[in-house]
Symmetry: C2
Subunit: 216 residues, 2 copies
């Protein structure tokens, strides 16, 4: 991208992260650090192969991404965020919070993908006070998710888990609203959400960031 040529922190930042696809690549690496080229392609439907390739090179040159030559058995390269790349978390959080209302009017037929729940849960979901970590299994959209929420950090992975404290089953936007506390448990149940396990752990969850915004 051509530089804006301004001595301004926003403009200089956009010189680096303003290219098409770049922030979405960061988003993907933020939630699944250590990712293969092909998995990035799958996570970013519509990106051209050459674009992904050149973006990754630029991002490496700009210090956002580091490539790593794989663990011994397999012979593939992995991409990781550097610390500087991780530092983009507040940027994604702010953009995501602002974009939340756009989720409401279900864009005619845009498919919902469970994977897209990973980032908001990782960024916004946290534990109220101290206490034992909470493990959730979330059954919505096209594939199951599991989330582990500790005091410091929330990590979300694709796939089920067996030792979950609570299993949540239901429509994507309702489950989303419940987890981000824009819907009460009662509302969620009424909208068809099923809770299996210790529903009490929901009391121990909190969200950060979400200012006002629409009803997801």
């Amino acid at each position: 991208m051509k530089s804006y040529g301004q001595q301004c922190a926003v403009a200089l930042a956009l010189d680096v992260i303003g290219d098409r696809w770049t922030l979405l690549i960061v988003r993907e690496l933020m939630v699944a650090d250590g990712t293969r080229y092909t998995d990035l392609q799958k996570a970013l439907p519509g990106i051209a192969s050459n674009l992904l390739s050149s973006r990754l090179k630029e991002m490496e040159a700009n210090g956002l991404v580091a490539r790593e030559d794989a663990p011994p058995p397999v012979a593939t390269g992995l991409f990781r965020l550097t610390e500087r790349g991780q530092a983009l978390a507040p940027v994604l959080a702010a953009i995501g919070a602002w974009g939340m209302p756009l989720l409401a009017p279900r864009k005619a037929g845009l498919p919902f993908r469970s994977r897209n729940l990973r980032l908001p849960l990782q960024l916004y979901l946290t534990l109220r006070g101290a206490g034992k970590p909470v493990t959730l299994e979330i059954e919505t959209g096209d594939e199951p998710l599991s989330a582990r929420i500790t005091g410091n950090r929330t990590t979300v992975k694709l796939g089920a888990v067996k030792d979950a404290d609570l299993r949540i089953v239901g429509e994507p936007h309702v489950v989303f609203g419940l987890l981000l506390q824009r819907r009460t448990v009662a509302e969620a149940r009424k909208a068809g959400v099923r809770l299996e396990g210790d529903a009490g752990v929901l009391e121990r969850l909190a969200t950060r960031w979400l200012g006002e915004g629409g009803h997801a």
Copy 2:
């Protein structure tokens, strides 16, 4: 811009604000709400006339911007941020904070413009505790600035002011570092900054947001 076509808050947000120039237009309107077309051009060196025009239309269609048909005497149109547009402040704040370190290696010969100080001061500068508003006059870069910091809000305008509590004169990056509290008063003085007036008001200033990052 072509949509990313993902049911994800970040992707949907970028569908709206991800276009080239869009966020810089928001930045400009954020700091000088009610701006004329021509003044936007001057604030965005390098933007093509047709691009500015079409961006403003898109932004209006997306509810970020409203055009207003001017106060009676003059016959020009003004552009304002809507509430939805104002809600992008945290996005610009996060991007700016991330981009701050990029300011350090003075991009070979990029001219420093005082106007570019307005946003960071407006976003990050605040008053410690309660108390009377503080008015600063800042003499650095290509034109003077004045900032009024109250409990709620900081507003920065181009041009001098007569009733300032404190006048600050010096090199841009040093003045910037002083105001954002990355340099002490002693360091700033040593770097050639002159303080005229009640230097004590500096004690009453605080900054928000700035995490770690390089030395501006």
